[in-house]
Symmetry: C2
Subunit: 243 residues, 2 copies
């Protein structure tokens, strides 16, 4: 099928790197850059390496690290290597807390009923979505696993397409979006994880509320109708809870 244009680089390294735009606090920006730098280096960095990575003086990096450390956002392991700290888990726990708390049981039921990995994705900007939860089925020999936190373009992947399809039509939208609007769910192939298929439906949300989509990832979509029905049902169930 003519869907060959999507492959690794396109989806893999979609890193929203923030550039020091005007009107930003330079010091805070540098501190946050340290966190992102550490996230890219799970095995830790030294103060000097951090300073190099940010292109700042070592003593500046040192001061910032000390500050992050005091807030438990950094940690220094056995020998001076710096890694992300446990305080981030606490902060992240509060992100979209209502939405995720309500979504968890629904995602678990969905994952189990179709024996595929289920996800909750939220819109993050005009052009991007971010995966917030990934629930794997309980007893399935083989299933797709990917990590939450990943960012994708809004117009790539079933979740983003579903969200676009839940909004007023726009002239230049992809045909998949138009189809999603008509069907009530979106399908994409290999746009997020190559060779896998995503099926998502938008979660009905109040005006101004967070836009979100629920979906599943499967290897083949031979019974697309059944999968889509389960996904649509889960999304509307979550929408009811949010009402």
């Amino acid at each position: 099928m003519p869907r060959m244009r999507e492959l690794p680089a396109q989806t893999e390294n979609f890193d929203l790197r923030v550039e020091p735009d005007a009107g930003m606090s330079k010091t805070l920006h540098n501190g946050l850059e340290i966190l992102e730098l550490l996230a890219r280096n799970p095995h830790g960095l030294s103060v000097s390496e951090i300073a190099d990575g940010l292109a700042v003086h070592r003593t500046v990096a040192h001061r910032l690290v000390r500050t992050l450390e005091a807030h438990r956002l950094c940690r220094r392991d056995d020998h001076k290597r710096i890694t992300l700290g446990t305080g981030l888990v606490t902060l992240a726990e509060s992100v979209e807390q209502d939405l995720r708390t309500l979504a968890r049981p629904i995602l678990e039921d969905l994952a189990d009923s179709v024996e595929a990995t289920a996800h909750l994705v939220v819109r993050e900007s005009d052009t991007t979505v971010r995966a917030m939860m990934v629930i794997e089925p309980r007893r399935s020999d083989v299933h797709i696993a990917f990590r939450p936190g990943q960012v994708h373009p809004l117009d790539r992947g079933s979740a983003g397409l579903a969200i676009l399809g839940s909004m007023p039509p726009r002239p230049e939208e992809r045909p998949e979006v138009t189809r999603a609007r008509r069907m009530g769910y979106a399908v994409s192939t290999g746009e997020v994880v190559s060779t896998t298929i995503g099926i998502s439906a938008a979660v009905p949300s109040r005006a101004g509320g967070t836009q979100a989509a629920i979906g599943v990832s499967v290897f083949d979509a031979t019974d697309e109708p059944r999968l889509a029905a389960a996904v649509v049902s889960a999304a509307s169930a979550l929408g009811e809870l949010l009402r």
Copy 2:
């Protein structure tokens, strides 16, 4: 919405509040304080409320919020209310990634085999531990649920006691620690969540590695031996993987 206002003062208000000590970057400190402030107010705050909360000028808070927003650590909902942003989920995903990836299947097996909520707790400082993962059993009508991210004193709760018990004896240690060292696991009652019982075992770790404990939370410990055996087995299994 259901905001978890919990039980005893003993555990509830154990908030590691960071004070502007010397040698810290004031600007970065203020930015991080905003994140913590937002975590305490899940329904969002206005810029002015944030400025009041930090005791800084409104324009200062405004600049910091803009910076956090650019990094997706903040978000402005429908009408100017500010909440924590999805970028935190991505950052938190990298925290102790190895440990948690290896621990998840072990915790799931543990939770299912004893039909109780299982947890992974790591040492965070000289005096505190933080819950990193909480896995609930799959098919159990009633079980204990609590959120990861919580901080507790090292000498309170079975996990901290187990960690202390895995270290050289100290003269002034609690008798529970001595007992934990002898038995290979620790038991505490009502120290983290009142009226519930925790049973934890330290995860054997390399020198310099993160100190951690695995355990379960139950309502009664009539079959403590069986529970303890499962917990100890899970902890040593994780220790093997970390070797």
